[in-house]
Amino acid sequence: MATLMAPNQGMLQEGAREEKGENARMASFVGAVAMADLVKSTLGPKGMDKILQSMGRGHEVTVTNDGATILKSVYVDNPAAKVLQDISKVQDDEVGDGTTSVVVLAGELLREAEQLVGQKVHPMTIIAGFREAEAVAKAELTAAAFSNAEHPEAFRNDLLNIARTTLSSKILTADKDHFAELAVDAITRLKGSGNLEAIHIIKKAGGALKDSFLDEGFILDKKIGVGQPKRITDAKVLIANTPMDTDKIKIYGARVRVDSMAKVGEIEAAEKNKMREKCQKIIDHGINCFINRQLIYNFPEEIFADAGVMSIEHADFDGIERLALVLGGEIASTFEHPGEVKLGSCKLIEETMIGEDKLIHFSGVALGEACTIVLRGASSHILEEADRSLHDALCVLGETVKEPRVLYGGGWPEMRMARAIEEAAKKTPGKKSLAMEAFARALRQLPTTIADNAGLDSADIVATLRAAHGADPGASRMGVDMIAGAAGDMRELGIYESFKVKQQVLLSATEAAEMILRVDDIIRCAPRQRSG
C-alpha cells in the first residue's frame, strides 16, 4: 500500500504542492521570465504604457509605465515572480528609478541560465560565472563613470541630461525640457541635502502639463479661516499640534456631573473661557498666523479673526512637518512660555488661485531650500502618472547629487560591460566562461529591448554598437539613438544616466537571478482557509 502512494502524500498538508528538481527550476524560470516580459515593453523612451484596473470597488484605473507600480499591482502566484516583484520594489525605495531595467535584466539572466541548464551546466557553476561576470561588470562600470562635481555649470548640465533621460520614457516626454528644468531647479535648491521632503508636489487637474511650474515658496492646499486677513506680509507663524475644538480634560475618568442647568451653563462658560485663554496665549506669542494640525472650531477661529490673526486648520501631519521645516519654526503643543517658542517666519503669506482652487502661498521662507512643484494636467490619471515620473526624476537627481558620478545612457554602459565581460570570459578556464558569456548576452538584451520597443532594427543597431565598442574599447561613446534610429554618440545627444542607479540595477538583478537559480525545490503550503 505504501509503495503505491506518491512519495510525499500524507506528508504535507492537503492542498500543498511540491515541485522538485527540473520541474521546480522550470517553474521558477517560467515565472520570472513571464514577469520580465510583462514589463519589457515599457522599457526605454518609446516604451508603451499599461492600464491597470484594480479589483476593488470602483475598478479604479491607473495608466503607467513605471515598472514598480505595474509589478506592485499585479497579483502573482509564482514564487519566483514574487522575487522579481520584490527587487523592483526595493529598487524603487533605494534609488527611485530603474525599476523596469532591474526586472528585465534579471529576467534575461534567467533566460540565459535556462539554456545553460539545458546544456547540463550545473546551476552552481552558472552562479559562479555570474558572480565573476558581475565583478568584472562592476569594475568596468566604475571605470566608465565620470564626474563633473567640481564644475557646477557642467554638473548642472549633467543633471539636466539625466533628468531628460529619465523623463523621456515617461508621459512627460513631450515637455521633458520643461520638467527637467523644474526637477533640476528643485534639486539644486536643496543644496546637496538630498532631503526630498522639502519638495512639495501639488496636483491640480486642469490646464496642460506644460503649465506646471515650480514655486519658490511653499504652497499649502488649505483654506484660511473666515473673516481673517487673506494676505500677510512679514508673517510670524506659530505651528501647532493641539486640539482647538473642545480641548477636553484628559485626566482619566473625568466627567461632568451636575445637578442643575445653571451649573451646566457655568461649566460651559468655563470651558469657553479656557479656550479663550488658550487662544489669547497663542496670540500673545506675537504672531499673525496660526497653523494647526488639528481642527479649529468656529469659536477659536472667531477669536483669531478678531485679533487679526490668520488661522489655518487641519494641515495634515506631513504638511505640518514640512511647514515646520520650511518656516523654521517648531511644532508647539503648549503655550505657556511665549518667549521661548521658536516661531516660523516668512515674507509673505497670501491666497492664490490655481485653476479654480484657492491655495495658501508662503513665499520668502526661512529655509531657502524648500519649493513646491504644482503639476497641472488634463485628468487625474495624467496627474498621477506625472507625479510618479517626476518622483522618479527627483529621486535619481537626489542620488546623483549625493553620488555625482554619471554614465552615458542609451545602452552604452551595458555594451561596455558586455564587452569587458566577454574579454574576461576568454581568459577564464572551465564552464564558468559559458555563464560569463551568457551574462554579457543578457546585458546586451537591454539596448536590444529599447530598440525593439521603438520599432527599430535592434539586431542591426546592437551589432553596430558592438563593433563600435570593440573597435575602440573604453573610448567609444556610441549608444542607441532613438530619434535617428541608429547608433549615435551619446555625449552629443546628451543622454546621461546616474551611476548609482545603474550599479544598483546590476547588483540587484544578479542577486535575484542567483537566488532563483539556487532553488531546486519549491514547496507550497496549502493556502490558509479563510473563514466566511
Binding site: 520584490d86 534609488v95 527611485g96 484628559k250 485626566i251 482619566y252 514547496i523
Partner: protein, 536 residues
Amino acid sequence: MSLAFDDYGRPFIILREQGSKSRVRGTEAVKANILAAKTVARTLRSSLGPKGMDKMLQSPDGDVTITNDGATILEQMEVQHQIGKLLVELSKSQDHEIGDGTTGVVVLAGSLLEQAESLLDMGIHPLRIAEGYEMACKVATAHLDSIATKWDFSPEEVEPLVQTCMTTLSSKVVGRLKRQMAEICVKAVLAVADLPRRDVNLDLIKVEGKVGGAMEDTRLVEGIVIDKDFSHPQMPKELKDVKIAILTCPFEAPKPKTKHKVDIDTVEKFESLRHAEQQYFIDMVQKCKDAGAGLIICQWGFEDEANHLLMHHNLPAIRWVGGVEIELLAMATGARIVPRFEELSPDKLGFAKCVREVGYGTTKERSIIIEGCPNLSAVTIWVRGGNRMVLDEVRRSLHDALCVARNLVRDNSIVYGGGSAEIACSLAVEAAADKVVGVEQYAMRAFADALEAVPLALAENSGLPSIESLTAVKARQLAESNPHLGIDCNDVGTNDMREQNVFETLIGKRQQMFLATQVCKMILKIDDIIQPSQYD
C-alpha cells in the same frame, strides 16, 4: 484485525469506532514510518554542503521564503505526517542546542532509517537494530573525541574562529562574502563573550536588517539599533555624549488601575483639574531635566503636549521602544529602567557617546543608532540585502555562524569537515563491528554505511562522481590513517581538510550523531499506528 472473538464465538470490540480509524501494525508500520522519514530526509539532502541548493517555500499566506537552512525548511514545510513531525523536531532541537548542522542531522537520520529497512527485510528485530545503532553511536562519538583537535584562540588571535564560521557560511547565500561576514560574527561574539566563564549570551547580539543596499554594506554596530525615530520631527538628529534615561511610564495623564470617576460639578473644580493636568506634564519633564538626562527613551507613548514640552526643554526623546530593546539598552548604557518619574535620579542614567538618526534611500523610514556605550555587552549586526528574501536568509545564516562561534568559545574542540569526520567514524565503527558477536554486528555495519551518506550527499551536490570520490577518500584514509581527508567540494585540488581550513565544532558533530540515533531508535520501536481515518 481489531475485532476478536471470545470463547463463545461472540465478537467483542478491542478498538472502538474502528470504522473511522485506520490502523497499521507490525513490520508494515515500521516500514511506513521509515518511508515517511526518508521522504523528509530526501527533500533536505540536496541542500547539504557548500554547493547545496536552496528551497523555495511559499507560506499559506503566499509569502515566499528562500533558504537552505534545514530547520527553516522543515518548519515552513508544515509537515503533517507524524513521523515527519518527529524529524522536524529533531532538526529544531539541533538548532536550539547547537544552531548549526540542522540539515546534516536529518540526512543522517534518514540514512540510518534507510539502512534499517534492509535489515528489517533480513528479518532482524527492530529492537536489535536499535541496540546495534546505540552501540555504534558510542563507538563513533568516542572516535570523534579522539580525532578532535583543540584549537586555542584568544581575543587577539581570532583566526581559528573566523575560519570555522567561514565553513558554516560557505553553504549559504552569503558565500560570496564569507570572510567579511565571518569576521563580523566573530567580533560580535567576542564582544559579548564572557571568556573566563566560557559563556556567550546570544540574546545580547541583535541581528537587525533593512531591505536595500547590498550585502557588502552589512556591518557591526557596537551598540544598539532601534527601528524608531525621535518623537518630535525637530529634535536634533545627532547627539554626542548624552546621558540617557530609560522610562517605562508614559508621558500621559495618570491612569490609575482602579476604576474611578472624577466628578466635575463646579467651575472651580473644572479649573483646578485643568491646572493639575498642565502641571502634570511640566512636572514630568522637569523631573527628567533635574536628573540631568539628555535623552529619554520611553516604552510608551507621549501626549502631544508632553512631546512639545520635551522638545521645548531640549530633551530629545524616543517613544514606543519595545521591551527587549529597553532591556538591551539598559544593559549597554548602564542605565536603570525607571518605572516612575519620582524614582528618576542622576545615578540611574545611562551613557552613550553617540546617538544618531539615519535614513535610507528614498523612503521615509528611519532608525536610531546608539553607539559608544560603556558596557560593550550588547552589539547589533546591521544587515543589508537586495530584497527581503535575501535579507532573511542572510540573517538566518548569520545566526548559524554566531552559534558556531559561541560553541567554539564554550568548547574549543573541532573536527574537520567535508565529510572527513563521518568517514573516519564510519571506518572506526566498521572495525569495531567485527569484534561484536551477535545480530548487532549487522546493525553496526549498517550504521557505518549510514554515516557515509553525508559525504556521499556532499559529493553529489558538488557535481562530483559521488561513489568514486567517496571510495577514493575512504581508501586513502585507511591507507594513510589520516582522519582529515574529506570530499573536495570546492574543487580546491586537495582532499586534506586541514589545508582547506574546513572545520566544524566537535559538540555540533557529536550532537548530530546522538540526536539522529535517538530518533531512529524511537521510530524503530513503533509497531502500531492508529490514526483517525481520513474518510469520516
